[in-house]
Each structure stands twice: as structure tokens, then as C-alpha cells.
């Protein structure tokens, strides 16, 4: 009988806690692999521009001469491709969502270390940078 089924649901809902969270007051439910936002460890970046070339929304801008790494938070779709392709693993995907933005073009710019001269790690990065110059 539908009547009794509804009663069951009603009673259950009466005696259980709300299914919703008071979101900004309480933190959202996150899992260890939740894609929240991208963050960079500036010391590890060798300005190889892999992330810039692979980014589907062109949110990342790497200046090799000025040694800066910039992300446009309004463009970023948090697909985590940049994290996958980064040769030095200096990009990480944080699980917390980014704060609410109020204006377009909210860009974060970081001065980075740039390519390491005598370090063997820099060798594959130099190869990766070649196609970009063509």
C-alpha cells in the first residue's frame, strides 16, 4: 500500500538528522582524491611549459624569461591534467575547494625557481620545451 510506504518514509525523515550540511559553516564532505584546486610548489617548477600546452582551457601561463607561473582561476576547470604531466611533480591537486571569486580574471601569479642548470632533472624538461619553440 502506498499510504503506509509514505508513512514509513515520513517517520524515518522525522527521526533522522537533516541530509544537508550547513556548508560554509561546516566543511564540505571531501574524499582523498577530490579535485579541489591546483597549487604549485614554486621551488620545483622548471618552467618547461608542459602544463600550459596541455591545459584544455588555457588557464595556465608560464613566462620563461620572467620565471613566473600564473593561473587564471576563472578559466581553470580542475581537470588535473597539469598535475599529471608535470615532470617535476611540483603541481598538486588540493582537496579543498577554492574560495568564492567575485571578479573575472582572478589570476594568481607565482615567481618560480626556473630551470636548474647543472641538475640532471633539467634534461628531460629541456626536451619537453623544444616543441613549444617551433
Amino acid at each position: 500500500m502506498t499510504f503506509f510506504q509514505m508513512t514509513k518514509t515520513v517517520l524515518k525523515s522525522l527521526f533522522t538528522r537533516p541530509a544537508t550540511l550547513m556548508y560554509p559553516a561546516k566543511p564540505a564532505n571531501i574524499t582523498p582524491i577530490t579535485r579541489g584546486h591546483v597549487s604549485i610548489n614554486p621551488e620545483g617548477c622548471i618552467t618547461c611549459r608542459s602544463c600550459q600546452r596541455k591545459c584544455p582551457t588555457q588557464a595556465i601561463c608560464v613566462e620563461v624569461k620572467e620565471k613566473t607561473w600564473e593561473i587564471d582561476n576563472m578559466r581553470c576547470v580542475v581537470c588535473s591534467v597539469c598535475v599529471d604531466v608535470c615532470p617535476t611533480k611540483c603541481l598538486t591537486m588540493e582537496t579543498q575547494y577554492r574560495k568564492v571569486l567575485t571578479a573575472r580574471g582572478a589570476k594568481d601569479k607565482f615567481p618560480v625557481a626556473g630551470p636548474k642548470k647543472r641538475d640532471p632533472v633539467a634534461a628531460p624538461a629541456a626536451d619537453a620545451a623544444k616543441p613549444a619553440k617551433e
Binding site: C61, R75, K107
Partner: protein, 125 residues
Amino acid sequence: MMEPQTILPIGVGDVVPKAEQAKRDGKRLVQIGCTKIGDDFEIIYVYDKDYQLTSYRITVKQADEIPSISSVYFGAFVYENEIHDLYGIHVTGINIDFKGTFYKTTIKHPFSVTIVKEDDSCQNK
């Protein structure tokens, strides 16, 4: 692996007869799609029966007129209006002709230009 597909090339004049034949065979219209290859436009008509696709391809220029199959398949008007609005190919005799107002785009016929991939410049320059 799915089964391979073949697309049969036909002339512009065969479009309506082929559609009529497909309807007699009990096929349904799956889609009409346009592709720009160089200066030519390929239009592919796809019919389906029992999950078997039958595809016909015509190759036209932008100034050409193609006949509408909406008298055979009523539902064809959405695809034909789309081709007209995005590629600028004129389709004659559509049953519900929006006359270029199906998609109201700022740039006229936006899909009729070919985008060349730029050398990964930053978005703000």
C-alpha cells in the same frame, strides 16, 4: 572493438531518393552532419535500422543549394537549420525554416571558418 563503418559517396541529386528509399526500408534518420574539408563541405546523412548504420556522403561548395529531406523525414529540419546557420549552406524546402534564426550567433556561419592552432600563447596576450 566495434564493427567498421563505411560511408557511401552520392551526388546531390540522390539525396532525396536515398532518403525515400531508406524510409521504405524502415530506417530511421539518425543525424545529418556537416564537415568542412578545405574549401569543400561534406554532408553526411546517417540512417539506422537494427543498430546497423547506413551513411551517405555528399560533397558541396558553400554557394551550392542542397535539397531538404524534411518532406520525407519530418525531424530532419533541426539538422538542416543547423547546417544552414553554422555553415551557411542553403537548404531548399525545409518544412520549418527558421531562415537563419535557429542559432543566433554574433559571427555569421561560425563553423565555416577554419581555426588554425596558434602557438600556445597565453590567454591574456
